[in-house]
Symmetry: C2
Subunit: 127 residues, 2 copies
DNA sequence: TTTATTCATTGACGTTCGTCGATATACAGA
DNA sequence: TCTGTATATCGACGAACGTCAATGAATAAA
């Protein structure tokens, strides 16, 4: 990338050599809008709720369960963690909008929120 | 858990009352395969690399840059963080396979790895 | 009411994460 | 060579995270 016929190789002069404006620098101007800090914050919060091996397994088990729902007592054993820990993860997934909770009797049933996973995947493919 | 056909209301007897098989319980059997612990671990690691507002902005800026590449010096200002911190985030994104690094002169140019974001989004829509 | 069961919450602990300043490394120009 | 610039690495700090035992809240049967 060294400069053509110029003594000092700066990113500015290199950009000039490439035909861009002097203040275009190495990376040039942005060709489109970038994500706003606020949007990045909310999107990261949603991704972070999924970015845990235990929570991914919980989502997978709920999705694969008959009727697409599962209660805590059936999730704690396949995951191999204590009941409070499983409830903690389920709360995170629920607050992030991936699971919904409905209590029937003494049991709490969690089920997938339709379209929630697709909604978090969509921005990734359109980057 | 308690036995079947006992006066105590267990999830088994509740399932019977609902017309399901006795061992169907509340969540019933799994209707398909669930993610393996190992796959959940690697997938969570990839998601975790993206689950940060700063790293999402870095990816967005690189993707929107002319030529689809950007060097560290141009990324540190719009993000508003120190250069070591930006380099740290870029390393995480690179090790996760989302960015590639090519050094030309004293500058390090980062660009998006084609298909990397789509690859991490695909498993989400197919759950 | 008493007992038993399911689940959520609390408090604590060790680990990981995000950030910075300081320093090291690599490269280009003089 | 020496100087300046761009980037990576190191060490440290506070914050956030994952986990558990203990406890609390709610429900149902006896």
């Amino acid at each position: 990338m060294t400069a053509i016929d110029l003594p000092l190789v700066t990113r500015e002069t290199a950009a000039v050599a490439l035909g861009s404006a002097p203040d275009a620098a190495c990376c040039g101007p942005l060709t489109r809008e970038t994500i706003s800090p606020a949007d990045a914050e909310t999107f990261a919060r949603r991704l972070k709720a999924l970015a845990d091996p235990v929570r991914l397994r919980l989502v997978s088990i709920v999705a694969a369960s008959e009727g697409h729902e599962a209660c805590v007592c059936d999730l704690t054993e396949p995951v191999g963690l204590s009941q409070p820990t499983v409830s903690h993860h389920l709360k995170i997934l629920t607050e992030a909008g991936f699971l919904s909770r409905s209590k029937r009797g003494t049991w709490a049933y969690y089920r997938l929120v339709p379209g929630a996973l697709e909604a978090v995947a969509a921005p990734l493919v359109s980057v």
